[in-house]
């Protein structure tokens, strides 16, 4: 199996006034294509920081990260933007939808930056929304949708450009358990299609769905377990 995510000895330092925060401290990690990985750990342990680096939103202070064989440190900001647009889909804990726009418009947003024509954009967004079961809510604004529906819109937006990697940072953190279950079912379906899923979570039963569970503490990986089925 191909491994497209390779992190070697990644550190991330944040300057907070006089003191330095070591959010990641020598993290090495490889993730193969099609893996379903959960990242666990207490609050402030560096999970989000790790996700942001994997998702090319942020750059490590030191260490090497290769994505599809490309050293990310060598890319310009605009090249990182293009990489995020083509290869990565983000799902955030607080959904991060644009309130002014309809669900359909939100989902089509990444395609605007890909430079896809309007008709194709419309079709792809409709299909992505249908896939997460929101075909009948396409033209509602986020404030007219429930939390679970909003997160499904966000997932549709993450998968609309058919990325190989989907990153979800506590996607069920703001949802009730039933909505959380629905969301997890969607992630499983996406994983069965062959997409790499990396999911940050607090909840052990959510993590239990994943085949691989990585635990982080104080910016270090303290355990990395694989379940065989």
């Amino acid at each position: 199996m191909r491994t497209s995510i390779i992190l070697e000895n990644i550190t991330k330092l944040y300057q907070m006034g006089d003191s330095e925060v070591r959010a990641l401290d020598g993290v090495s990690l490889t993730i193969s294509d099609g893996e379903f990985t959960a990242i666990m750990g207490p609050s402030g342990s560096g999970k989000t920081t790790l996700m942001n680096i994997i998702g090319c939103l942020d750059r490590p202070t030191s260490g090497s990260y290769r994505l599809d064989g490309q050293e990310v440190a060598a890319l310009t900001d605009d090249q990182l933007a293009v990489t995020r647009n083509r290869k990565i889909g983000f799902v955030f804990q607080n959904f991060n939808l644009l309130a002014r726009m309809t669900a359909h418009h939100n989902v089509a947003l990444p395609l605007i930056y890909t430079g896809i024509d309007k008709k194709t954009r419309h079709d792809k967004a409709s299909r992505a929304l249908a896939m997460v079961g929101l075909a009948n809510r396409m033209f509602h604004r986020p404030n007219e949708l429930s939390g679970g529906q909003r997160q499904r819109v966000a997932i549709a937006r993450a998968l609309v450009n058919e990325p190989t990697i989907i990153l979800a940072d506590e996607p069920t953190g703001n949802l009730d358990s039933r909505s959380g279950e629905e969301i997890m079912n969607i992630f499983h379906a996406l994983n069965r299609q062959g997409r790499t899923i990396i999911l940050v979570t607090h909840e052990p039963d959510i993590a239990a769905c994943a085949r691989r569970i990585i635990t982080v503490r104080d910016g270090k990986i303290v355990s990395d377990e694989r379940k065989e089925r």
Partner: protein, 403 residues
Amino acid sequence: MFWESIIIALEGLKANKLRSVLTMLGIIIGVGAVIAMVSIGMGVRQKVQTSIAGLGSNLLIITPGATSPTGVRLAAGSNNSLTVQDAQAIAREIPGVSLVAPFVSRQYQVIYGNKNWTTSIQGTTPEFLTVRNFTVDSGTFFSGQDNDTRARVAVLGRTVADNLFGDISPIGQTIRINKAPFRVIGVLGAKGQSAGGADQDDMVLIPLTTAQERVLGITFLHSISVQAVSADVINQVQDEIVELLRSRHRLGAKPDDFTVRNLAAILATAEETTRTITLLLGNIAAISLVVGGIGIMNIMLVSVTERTREIGIRKALGATYYNILLQFLIEAVVIGVTGGLIGIGLGVGSSYAISGIAGWNTVVSFSSILLAFGFSVMVGLFFGLYPARKAALLDPIEALRYE
């Protein structure tokens, strides 16, 4: 992407109507003021141009008495230095002169029946008609022979005809000027007000010799109008007239006892003045455009801060520096252009209102509309650039963490 951005920008403006209008207000007022002010300036200029041109083309006017270079009449020099012989000499001896009209005038009461009207009685020769650009509306003008025979005939200006005769035709009627009877043989076409606001139709024309000998009792002239054959020779003709009159008046080393005014030169000066006024008005208005631009910058900076999270989301989804820059620049330009369009409507409307209500002449020129519009686009671009750059340079992580 480009059209998308324009639509996104328009939607944004629509979502926040009151704020958008307040932001645009500076541009609306600026553009409106530029157009209205320039149209007033151009109106004044056009009015001065037509009224000076209406006096007659290629015209030189000679008056007795010296004038200082600033145009102030000096006490020195006699006021009876110009004669009919001077006028005849100019016509005879100076090439480049096409017509010469000697001229005298004084205020008198004119009586017809039980009506009277005090007006300017002007004695001149038939050349006056062409030189000063008058037309005969009805009847005829007096001839050279009327002048030779000191005939008691009169041609009325429109204002005099209206006041003395009303609806009756004045032709063939007898009026009394300073108690002497005159037969009306014609009425001039109306010319309206001069640049100075004087009524150019409030006068009665009679033959020069009649005026000099039978009415005023003088032998000198009040002025001589000279028409040059073309604008090219007018300065040369002016110099030759000065030379001729100096030698005829035997002035030697003494200063001129007459003044030659060149209407082309006066016209040029007047145009220069009105151009300056127009420019000044336009500049004052342009300052308000800049103030409007600062308003755009202010609101765009607020908008960038408010939408920090949106910018973070867009960047996470793959928006590049250029994408974000373009989005905010287009918003700023859309504010500028929308404000500019409303301002054009306002400016054109108010300049028509000014000419309608105040009775001023205004000229809405296409170039001032184009200029003001172009300016508002530039203002949007210029003052939008800094906020847009600020947005485009935001770090996606920082922007997403923004509360």
